[in-house]
């Protein structure tokens, strides 16, 4: 079974502070991990995925297979980063379903 856990429902930081949104997963095979973001009144959109290993809007995430984690990090949060962040997992290799975590609402205060 696939399971994604985001332990924090809410996370509040001040502008310029580092931010880390936690994600742990459970899957026996080779997963693909993603972070999706949903800004206020907008649709879900892909932020980044582990296979591309790139930094998007200053965010990075490293897949740690030993700890089964895929935490999202940004060294200096901006107010425009305030949004709902969802970690998601997919079975590797094809167009399979996404399994989402419950999401973390990030608020960046001025």
């Amino acid at each position: 079974a696939q399971r994604v856990t985001q332990p924090e429902k809410l996370l509040s930081v001040f502008k310029g502070a580092p931010v880390e949104l936690k994600c742990n997963y459970s899957y026996s095979g080779s997963p693909e991990l993603f972070w999706y973001v949903q800004y206020s009144r907008q649709r879900l959109q892909l932020l980044l995925r582990h296979i591309s290993r790139e930094s998007i809007k200053g965010f990075t995430a490293d897949l740690n297979k030993g700890e089964t984690s895929f935490h999202l990090k940004k060294p200096f949060a901006q107010e425009e980063d305030s949004a709902m962040y969802y970690c998601a997992l997919k079975r590797g290799g094809s167009n399979y379903k996404l399994t989402f975590g419950k999401g973390t609402l990030l608020t960046v205060n001025p």
Partner: protein, 114 residues
């Protein structure tokens, strides 16, 4: 930039009524999905569709649900006899053929069953 569109944005219906939620996927995409999110809960997979047939479905997707691609552009989700617990945000998504293609999401349809 092409986007997935969904209509209506909000649907209110009486328990027991049939509803059809409509989606227009991105035009060159071949995989189509429905997800739902009950208020306060996680986004859950319902069904995926490829080559005019269901390729994967969840336990939620029971006989009350059906999907169809009636023409070359629309992808629909039908709920035959709605229940109160079907109230949720329903998201359509589509992706291209390659294995690592991103799933692009629509804005969602909020279904309220009274």
């Amino acid at each position: 930039e092409p986007e997935v569109t969904q209509t209506p944005s909000h649907q209110v219906t009486q328990m027991g009524q049939e509803v059809i939620l409509r989606c227009v996927p991105i035009s060159n995409h071949l995989y189509f999905y429905w997800y739902r999110q009950i208020l306060g809960q996680k986004v859950e997979f319902l069904v995926s569709f490829y080559n005019n047939e269901i390729s994967e479905k969840s336990e939620i997707f029971d006989d009350q649900f059906s999907v169809e691609r009636p023409d070359g552009s629309n992808f629909t989700l039908k709920i035959r006899s709605t229940k109160l617990e079907d109230s949720a945000m329903y998201f359509c998504a589509s992706s291209g053929l390659a294995a690592y293609n991103e799933q692009f999401f629509g804005p969602g349809t909020r279904l309220t069953v009274l």
